[in-house]
């Protein structure tokens, strides 16, 4: 009996060793999925930033068919890479709303002039808080929101060519 007790530390250790070994073989998925998927939109009340950037409220996002909400920034390099694919989405009938984070009207305007403007509407947020309301953690991220204002789908990172049909499909499902 006593001898068996001496083996307890070894058993515990082997368990920890096995766990560590198993976790090492698992790929580290750095993207953190949003907890807000399938939940209604958070409260949104972005003030107007002048020029081409009117404000945006939660109410304005509800109704009128499903939408894509794209978080971007003029300072964000992957956002430049995804610009043509957003353009493709727009051409295939997606309604895209842009929210530029930590941006100024001048910088955001220059970005849209250079890389094209796929958005039906663009708002500027001075701080990241609004993205956290969506359960997001970085830029760019794109969300599918249905007619009732419920978040249906989250795409983390820049939109690439292969993501375009997936997003269109998600928009279709959200109808």
């Amino acid at each position: 009996m006593m001898r068996l007790a001496y083996a307890i530390p070894l058993a515990l250790f082997l368990f920890i060793l096995g766990l560590g070994g198993y976790m090492l073989t698992q790929g580290r998925d750095q993207a953190i999925p949003s907890q807000m998927v399938a939940k209604p939109l958070p409260d949104i009340d972005l003030p107007a930033a002048g020029g081409d950037f009117p404000g945006l409220t939660r109410r304005e996002l509800i109704g009128g068919g499903p939408k894509l909400i794209n978080f971007w920034g003029s300072w964000c390099v992957p956002c430049k890479a995804e610009a043509p694919h957003l353009e493709a989405l727009k051409e295939q009938g997606a309604d895209i709303i842009g929210i530029a984070l930590r941006d100024t009207p001048e910088d955001a305007g220059a970005f849209l002039k250079q890389y094209g403007n796929p958005y039906s509407r663009v708002a500027i947020a001075e701080v990241f808080t609004i993205l956290f309301g969506f359960g997001g953690s970085g830029v760019p991220e794109t969300y599918v929101v249905d007619d009732e204002g419920v978040i249906r789908y989250q795409h983390i990172g820049d939109v690439r060519a292969r993501d375009v049909p997936i997003l269109l499909d998600q928009l279709e499902k959200a109808k």
Binding site: Y6, P9, L10, G20, M23, Q26, R28, E126
Partner: protein
């Protein structure tokens, strides 16, 4: 040439580790009296190896000092424009360099063990040296095969990438080396414990040999944790001093194990009890430092200490962990039954109290270990959780409170058996202090159960720490006892700082325009201005914040928001103003637009006591080492003198005999 010398030295050291291992293992198998030629090899191998490993590290230091950009490690971690001090400390501010430092310290302590330790039975010593060589060999292999610090670039880089700005701080000079010395000291304790287990010679004499190593490792761990905590406190700019981050836990767990080990070793030395338990803790302490290394460097846990993460290295460390700790625990499971448990003692005795504290410390260790590994476990089932203070603080306190209670009265008890009535008078003083402080805190409306408990125990313990001195002639009290008193008092001081920080801290977050002011606690805070300034490899916005208390002459604090350009990163440099009764902590954030700045100010009463306490604890450990070594030397000198006297007398009588003849 520098890199090549370093690499060759490393290979030679590894070869000597093989020799040390084989020679030690083979001569351990031979009997005590038998003379095998191999027995001559283990010690010199360890000593020469130490020189080679240190030489190797010195070569890397040199390469960093002159910013030799043909070496990959230098090019990816240093920069020619970096201040000289950070070029040097940058040597161990990366994975490969820090592992080389680790190995150098390991070899150095192995060499010291081989050079200085002559008290142990020969076979135990050879076994310990064999284990030490085996451990060192694993780390040499790890360095050479998967983390070669001396790798050359095919074409020298034009300029280095730079060191993570958070690491460009004096804290990096102190914190990792002290922790490593602590971890590595535990490896010597591990080797000695395994040696004693293998030869079944777990004796009080063995405890006396292992004790300075355990105490030394423990002192360095204490200093390393204390320094790391203060570094995080002022460098990260979050105002907190402990975050229960996996890497912090990785340093705390060996400390808890070493604390338990240190106390159990003293029972073994004084009373020849707790044999298997001591060996178990010896293995546990080293396992915790290795497990910490694995968790930090494999990247299986996310942490602020993001080392360059590499699954291959993680696998290597995991294999080493499996071999050393798994092997040690397997031997323990097979052998422990054959080591007699040693002398018995009653529950109400010094041993009883120490056993209780040992169990509580181990329980706290288990709490920290579970909290650290739990996210890993749930992630295996695809659930992401993070475990933080809401778990660690209260669950740790469940075991810390009884531990602190016994810690207050335990040192008053006698060895072997004692009567509780004998110390009831002193115990009631301690309890009275405890209850009075709780009552006072409740009356004054202090919030937070843990804070109140912390304050009460700090007061009770501060008094209880000195009670073992009562009724003794202070000049005759052994130095080691002073060490204990000092360390226990340090716990009280540190606890007071922690409780006070969490109970009384005042915080103010305000957007202030230059010229505007705000208040925090008794302090009147005025933002005088914000100016851009430039450093050697950064630019910053520096705020001038005037703080004055009760209308006194204001002091100026200058927190900065820094932007480093090599590599590009923004850091926040907090500004501190220390008074005896607390610290004012200021951080400047973003511009709020419209000319105002985000200013974050804390007044943290007595927060500095946390680290003063840590220093006192370490000082206690140093006193204990001095005391133990001195009494040991004295005993040996007395024995030698006795031997000499006997020899003289024998000679005298021999001569007389001759004369008579």
């Amino acid at each position: 040439m520098i890199a090549e010398i370093g690499l060759v030295a490393l290979w030679l050291a590894a070869a000597l580790a093989v020799l040390q291992m084989v020679a030690g293992a083979l001569s351990m198998r031979s009997g005590e009296g038998e003379a095998t030629p191999l027995v001559l090899f283990a010690r010199p191998a360890a000593i020469v190896q130490a020189g080679l490993a240190v030489l190797s590290f010195a070569m890397l230091l040199w390469a960093f000092a002159i910013t030799d950009l043909s070496i990959k490690l230098v090019a990816t971690n240093s920069h020619s424009m970096k201040p000289f001090l950070y070029k040097i400390t940058g040597t161990w501010g990366n994975h490969e360099g820090s592992m080389l430092l680790w190995v150098a310290v390991l070899a150095l302590s192995g060499g010291l063990l081989a050079f200085a330790e002559h008290r142990l039975p020969k076979r135990t010593m050879q076994a310990a040296l064999a284990v030490q060589g085996f451990v060192a060999l694993g780390f040499y292999a790890f360095l050479i095969l998967s983390s070669n610090p001396f790798e050359r670039l095919p074409v020298p880089a034009a300029e280095g990438v730079g060191l993570n700005p958070l690491l460009q701080d004096i804290g990096l000079a102190v914190h990792p080396p002290t922790l490593y010395i602590g971890y590595v000291g535990l490896s010597v304790a591990f080797s000695l414990a395994m040696g004693a287990l293998l030869t079944r010679q777990v004796t009080p004499e063995f405890a006396k040999v292992i004790r300075p190593w355990v105490l030394g490792a423990w002192v360095f761990l204490t200093l390393g944790i204390t320094a790391g905590s203060y570094w995080a406190y002022y460098e990260l700019g979050w105002g907190g001093w402990w975050f229960w981050d996996p890497v912090e836990n990785a340093s705390l767990m060996p400390w808890l194990a070493a604390t338990a080990l240190m106390h159990s070793v003293s029972v073994l030395a004084a009373r020849d009890a707790l044999r298997t338990w001591t060996i178990m803790l010896g293995v546990l302490a080293f396992s915790m430092s290795m497990l910490g290394t694995f968790l930090v460097r494999s990247g299986v846990l996310t942490s602020v200490h993001a080392f360059a993460v590499d699954p291959e290295r993680g696998a290597f460390i995991l294999v080493l962990l499996g071999i050393y700790v798994g092997g040690a625990l397997a031997i323990f499971a097979l052998r422990a039954g054959s080591i007699a448990e040693g002398k018995r003692f009653s529950v109400t005795s010094r041993e009883g109290a120490l056993v209780f504290n040992n169990v509580m410390l181990t329980a706290i260790l288990a709490v920290v270990l579970m909290g650290t590994l739990y996210p890993l476990l749930t992630e295996a089932f695809d659930v992401r959780v993070s475990v933080g203070p809401p778990y660690f603080n209260p669950v740790g306190a469940i075991f810390a409170v009884p531990m602190l209670l016994v810690m207050a009265v335990g040192p008053l008890l006698r060895w072997k058996a004692d009567k509780s009535e004998r110390i009831s008078g002193l115990v009631s003083i301690v309890m009275a202090v405890l209850i009075t402080v709780v009552g006072l805190a409740l009356f004054l409306g202090v919030s937070g159960a843990l804070s109140i408990i912390g304050l009460a125990f700090a007061a009770a313990l501060a008094i209880a720490a000195f009670l073992p001195l009562k009724g003794r002639n202070l000049r005759l009290v052994p130095i080691a006892v002073w060490g204990m008193v000092m360390a226990h008092f340090g716990i009280a001081v540190s606890l007071f700082g922690m409780a006070s920080e969490s109970a009384f801290t005042q915080e103010r977050l305000a957007a202030v325009a230059p010229g505007g002011s705000t208040t925090v606690g008794d302090w009147q805070i005025t933002l005088e201005g914000v100016d851009p300034i430039a450093g050697p490899n950064w630019t910053a916005m520096e705020a001038r914040v005037a703080a004055s208390r009760d209308g006194a002459e204001p002091v100026i604090l200058a927190p900065q928001a820094r932007n480093f350009w090599t590599p590009f990163q923004a850091t926040s440099e907090s500004a501190l103003h220390t008074r005896w009764d607390g610290q004012l902590y200021a951080v400047i954030g973003d511009s709020a637009g419209d000319g105002r700045w985000q200013l974050r100010i804390w007044w943290k009463p007595f927060v500095t006591f946390i680290w003063y306490g840590g220093l006192l604890i370490a000082l206690g450990g140093v006193l204990a080492i001095i005391g133990r070594l001195r009494s040991d030397l004295r005993r040996r000198t007395a024995k030698r003198k006795g031997d000499e006297r006997r020899a003289d007398l024998a000679e005298f009588f021999d001569k007389q005999d001759e004369g008579v003849r």
